[in-house]
Symmetry: C2
Subunit: 234 residues, 2 copies
Amino acid sequence: MQYVKIKDAIVEQIESGQLSPREKLPAERKLAESFDTTRVTLREALSLLEAEGRIYREDRRGWFISPSPLRYDPSQTLNFTNMALAQQRTPNTVLLSAQSTVANKHAAQLLDLQPFSNVYQVDRVRYLENRPVVYVTHYIRPEFVPDLLRHDLTTSLTDIYREHYGMVYQSIRYRITTSTLLGETAQALRATSGTPAMVVERINYNQHGELIDCDIEYWRHDAISIESFATLVR
Amino acid sequence: MQYVKIKDAIVEQIESGQLSPREKLPAERKLAESFDTTRVTLREALSLLEAEGRIYREDRRGWFISPSPLRYDPSQTLNFTNMALAQQRTPNTVLLSAQSTVANKHAAQLLDLQPFSNVYQVDRVRYLENRPVVYVTHYIRPEFVPDLLRHDLTTSLTDIYREHYGMVYQSIRYRITTSTLLGETAQALRATSGTPAMVVERINYNQHGELIDCDIEYWRHDAISIESFATLVR
DNA sequence: TAGTGGTCTAGACCACCAG
DNA sequence: TGGTGGTCTAGACCACTAT
């Protein structure tokens, strides 16, 4: 298993510090030559490293060393920006679209609505050190936050809820699975279709126990480490 | 992108019910022929399906349709067996080894011990419908559970704690990342090195807030959906 | 525009699983 | 033991990125 040996050689270069986070690996053809193999086998090794979360790929741009992941606690209200800043990271948010629309099947199910109900949909991409790491789609029940779209949606939704509607999250239901990035989600994260992803679905309730919104997050899987603390109810 | 089309064709066969959970796909050469392509491209499509969690591979045995994942709440005390039974699944556990040993670096860090402290180590593989789905390693601080190894370790550790030591979990710290199966972990799950995995690390505390044990779980990533509910502390 | 990554072809050999 | 999956070779073409 040549590709495991190649992988290990590259791992060693990373751990010894010869390759630093965010640094680009040499061209595939050069790497293949230096390991005396073909591109196919070399790419097998690179895919392994990608699956381990040690390197990542930007579509047609090449392979890069992964920085350490963002620690993410889904049971906290901390918004992305504050979470990143608290970890000495440099966050950024780009609003892709914000619209009033009709709930699709998935959104209707998460929000416990009849199909074709009206919802707000907000699509955003979030960056760390200028690397896009997560594609987030929010679906929001409009009755609790009329005229939501008038606010600056590049800021934190939770801040808008609190400041303009006197509403805060009190409890959260979440689901974590793995899948892949596809289509426009992949593109927005500068990834190829099929890139492994961590998927976080959250359903959020306000201080009165009412279902407010849900969000679906597609993370570059190397960019996130989910960490939480739970006290058991008996 | 031929391999995406092939993937979609197979997805359709799965969703239309022509292929059922746990059913084996035709041989790669046959599939390649029927899609009029080469094995390399066909395997690209299969890898995509694997990354999406729709099929899984057993080493040298072939590709199979994934059953629906087990819903797993890391913030519950529910042990694996009861969790599976509650979801109409058929669980099984095989004890690989149980020993008193010296903590390695990772275990010492998780358990907040000096390196080379003594710990119990219990390695187990857990099955659903006779498919191995998770490799679990427990590291246990011996002072709370003397002579632990005398008990039947194919049963639930939490049951043993409760019945023989009057101890229960009260709080849990956990971390979820993705990586790959390697070496003996892969073998025990009938997987190839490099198979995508969901990694769950848990650190458990008893009713007095004392750190009892930790466990490291390597899941076949298609076999698990992590679902939890959190009430925010303010 | 040169070089890169994305994709694909058409084979091959081997060790292992299943019958 | 036949067929399978695991691995590898040695190319090729194209669209796109970086310069």
